[in-house]
């Protein structure tokens, strides 16, 4: 085993673990704010960055939902099970939207007397975290071997 092959193997291993990490552990609200804060200096730019992350997370979640619905529709099982799963998914989707609203109102409120812009940024980062986390859960469900 020479030095070069060791370094090569190490690079591969590190890049594998690094690329495996982000989709699994959706970034926390705090990490999302930090990412935007490190990239941009002005408050307006940070705000824009966080708004963008919120929008991206919504797209991410919608895509995961659509993929899961497609997988369920093609499920090789009796139709009543398919209908039941779809109805339960729809109910969970609604209660998630409500939970996200209330949890992110809480996240905003722990900003206290911070100016409005900063509070709004907390809310956006919180929404992005919850959306990405749910998208990941739905993706795992859709990837289940029973749909293959």
């Amino acid at each position: 085993m020479n030095m070069r092959s060791v370094i090569f193997a190490a690079t591969i291993l590190c890049s594998v673990s690094a690329s495996a990490a982000p989709p699994r552990a959706a970034q926390s609200e705090y990490a999302i704010r930090l990412a935007c804060g490190n990239e941009f200096f002005s408050m307006a730019d940070v705000r824009e960055c966080l708004d963008k992350k919120e929008v991206e997370s919504e797209t991410n979640l919608k895509r995961a939902e659509a993929n899961l619905l497609r997988a369920i529709a093609k499920w090789d099982i009796e139709p009543p099970y398919i209908a039941a799963s779809k109805a339960k998914l729809a109910a969970a989707r609604k209660s998630f939207a409500k939970y996200r609203e209330d949890q992110c109102a809480y996240a905003k409120s722990v900003g206290g007397t911070a100016i409005g812009n900063a509070l709004e940024m907390r809310r956006a980062a919180c929404v992005a975290e919850l959306n990405n986390q749910r998208a990941e859960q739905l993706r795992i469900s859709a990837a289940d071997s029973q749909f293959k």
Partner: protein, 155 residues
């Protein structure tokens, strides 16, 4: 010399990798299927797996309750006007109630992914799902109050 350098590199990589994996697990982010797998790898009989998952659910409830209590404590000690403290406490309570409803409905969906499996298997899917959501929320609650400055002791 070359050999010892290689050994050193392997050691560095091993440490770096374990740091990466422990950072991920310290966020407590095992997903529902990983939780099920963990119980399934440890035990063979269906009853033992079921007990293991029920235990994981119960543990996750303790973790979440503790995180909620700590969040309330941090908010109470927060160096901020009372009206903001009250607002945050109220919203935390509301979010807790709404979370319980979301958890019930999402985990009913997760269990339904078992299709025509026998009841025990469906119930295990539900327990693993509840444990995952509880741990994720506990972690979020912990992070949200981690920056709150406490009141000075002289106040």
């Amino acid at each position: 010399m070359k050999n010892s350098q290689a050994r050193w590199l392997v050691w560095v990589v091993a440490v770096a990798l374990s740091a990466v994996t422990s950072a991920a697990s310290s966020r407590g982010l095992m997903n529902e299927s990983e939780i099920r797998l963990e119980c399934g790898n440890e035990f063979f009989s269906m009853a033992a797996v079921r007990t293991c998952l029920d235990k994981k659910q119960a543990q996750s409830e303790v973790v979440l309750k503790r995180a909620e209590a700590q969040a309330r404590k941090a908010i109470t000690r927060w160096d901020e006007d009372d009206k903001y403290i009250d607002l945050a406490k109220t919203r935390l309570a509301v979010s807790g109630r709404v979370f319980a409803k979301y958890r019930t409905e999402h985990c009913a969906f997760a269990a339904s992914m078992g299709g025509g499996a026998i009841g025990n298997a469906l119930e295990m899917g539900r327990a693993a799902c509840v444990a995952e959501l509880n741990h994720r929320r506990a972690e979020q609650l912990r992070l949200l109050v981690s920056e709150l400055p406490p009141k000075q002791a002289t106040k």
